[in-house]
């Protein structure tokens, strides 16, 4: 069954949230969710890079790797494309949009080796998405990840103000618990749409 790109988009945000149902991108999710403004910056950067790299990787995969029978090298190509796109993006933003630089440019290097970004490129191959499906899937996944980190950051900020977290749970521990509960909460969406 051919899924409508919009269905994939909604699924990527809610029912198949990349952070909360696949538990991908945990490292930045734990590290960058201390303050909500850094979380938002990181979220925006992920949305942007995810969409951009998925598009480039889709084109490379379908127009170069498949015709030449080189699918086996997809991993390597994807990783290198992601790393260099992030590098390029950082240079371009620094040069032409200095204002954006301080709000989200500095998060770009952190994304270079982020597993979520690679996962999107790999999923699109596994699920044989078409071009538009890939675009919406990547964009939706980015938004999903940004939503997850923003919620977690907001909860952590609130916890710091009113909460009394036991010493042993401070930092990554409580964040994992928060992510776990959020993940359960997101399961509530699971009846909405299904992509698999």
């Amino acid at each position: 069954m051919e899924l409508h790109p919009f269905v994939i988009f909604i699924a990527a945000i809610f029912t198949h949230n990349i952070a909360l149902s696949y538990l991908l991108g945990m490292c930045p999710l734990l590290a960058m969710s201390r303050h909500s403004n850094t979380a938002q910056g990181m979220g925006i950067a992920v949305i942007f890079v995810m969409t951009l790299t998925a598009v480039i990787n889709w084109l490379l995969y379908h127009f170069i790797l498949i015709p030449t029978g080189s699918q086996i090298m997809a991993y390597l190509v994807f990783i290198i494309v992601i790393a260099s796109v992030v590098q390029l993006l950082e240079m371009i933003i620094e040069k032409f949009f200095p204002r954006l630089q301080s709000s989200f440019g500095i998060f770009l290097p952190l994304i270079t080796v982020n597993c979520t970004i690679l996962a999107i490129s790999l999923f699109m191959v596994l699920r044989t998405y078409s071009f538009w499906q890939t675009v919406f899937f990547a964009f939706g996944s980015g938004i999903g990840w940004a939503v997850a980190i923003t919620i977690i950051a907001a909860i952590r900020e609130k916890l710091r103000m009113i909460g009394d977290v036991p010493n042993g749970l401070k930092g990554a521990g409580i964040t994992m618990v928060i992510a776990g509960i959020l993940s359960l909460a997101f399961m509530g969406f699971s009846g909405m749409v299904s992509v698999q």
Partner: protein
């Protein structure tokens, strides 16, 4: 075969793109850094402030090697630094922000920058040294003797240096344990911290004859020489280092002030320099060394004080003479000591501490 060419082709195109981008996008031209309004350095912009300062032999404290994870490289940026970045906000509070403090490793130099660094940090230099001796003091603390090459170091008793971990850009701070009058050799006490990068290096790899690099001296934890107050020193573990430097300094001056040194450890095997300190005690009536064990083992046959070092300290310092305290140890110990000392009437401005 075709796969090989295709993948290499893709890689080649990407590398070319990156090279071109770097050539045409990343250029800031000539920039200058003005330090404290008098010294000016110029360079091609693009790198961060911390690296430029290091290149120009100005060493400010930094432990993480420019990743914005230690928060040590704070300095005042008067102009040209741009807006504060989210990565810095974690380390710079509101008041510091208003004063213009930034993390040097996060300030990218893209135009002319004016900065202010307090005078006491400008004394720091980079030194090369050979390890002349390295040995165990206790089961987990090593003493490292460094013979400085071609230079001498001037430091105040209690200050620390930043030891560069070979093969990385990271530094770790260690207090100097030797006397400031010996300007060509230093002694450091380094405890094996589980998971610690530098301590593991020192304990497992570093050997006599190795060449190391460090910067310093740093720190506002040092003996206030002009004062005549009694000294209460409280320390534990490697907190021995700065106190030992202070004691050596006072010994050379003939121990002009009354000194109580409380040293906290868990068991007898965590005590070190005991003989040396007892000798000092025998020589000067003014100096008293009081080690306290928190969990002595039956085999220790310990007859000295038992308990948490801060509780022991409280028993001894009841008199009303003006006092000055030097604390060096883990944060809980310092917090507990602060409470005890303020309760005993030591003025907060006379309490100096070094948390690690």
């Amino acid at each position: 075969m075709i796969t090989f060419f295709v993948v290499n082709g893709i890689l080649l195109v990407i590398s070319l793109l990156l090279l071109l981008a770097e050539r045409f996008l990343v250029t800031y031209g000539e920039c200058s850094i003005t330090l404290n309004g008098d010294k000016t350095f110029s360079m091609l912009g693009g790198d961060n402030l911390l690296n430029y300062l290091n290149q120009h032999k100005i060493f400010i404290p930094s432990a993480c090697g420019g990743k914005a994870t230690c928060g040590f490289c704070k300095l005042k940026v008067l102009s040209g630094g741009g807006d504060i970045l989210p990565t810095e906000e974690v380390y710079i509070d509101k008041k510091e922000r208003e004063e213009g403090l930034r993390l040097a490793c996060q300030v990218k130099v893209k135009k002319d920058v004016e900065i202010y660094i307090p005078e006491y940090l400008l004394g720091a230099e980079e030194f090369e040294a050979d390890v002349s001796h390295i040995t165990y003091l206790t089961h987990d603390i090593k003493i490292v003797h460094l013979a400085i090459l071609n230079k001498t170091i001037n430091f105040k008793p209690g200050q620390y240096i930043q030891f560069k971990i070979p093969g990385t850009d990271e530094y770790r701070a260690y207090s100097v344990a030797s006397s400031p009058s010996d300007k060509s050799t230093l002694e450091l006490l380094i405890r094996l911290v589980p998971g610690g990068l530098c301590s593991a290096y020192v304990h497992k790899v570093l050997m006599k004859g190795d060449r190391v690099v460090f910067t310093g001296p740093f720190g506002d934890f040092y003996l206030r020489e002009e004062s005549e107050n009694d000294i209460i020193a409280i320390g534990g573990g490697c907190g021995m280092a700065p106190i030992r430097s202070i004691l050596y300094f006072l010994r050379e001056k003939g121990m002009p002030r009354r000194v109580f040194y409380f040293f906290g450890a868990r068991t007898k095997k965590d005590l070190f320099f005991t003989k040396e300190l007892r000798e000092l005690e025998a020589k000067f009536a003014n100096f008293k060394y009081i080690p306290a064990l928190s969990e002595p083992e039956p085999g220790d046959k310990w007859e000295g004080e038992v308990g948490f070092v801060t509780q022991i300290a409280e028993k001894y310092i009841g008199d009303k003479r003006p006092k000055e305290a030097y604390l060096c140890g883990p944060p809980p110990m310092i917090d507990a000591a602060m409470k005890v000392l303020t309760r005993e009437g030591v003025k907060p401005e006379n309490i100096f501490y070094d948390k690690f």
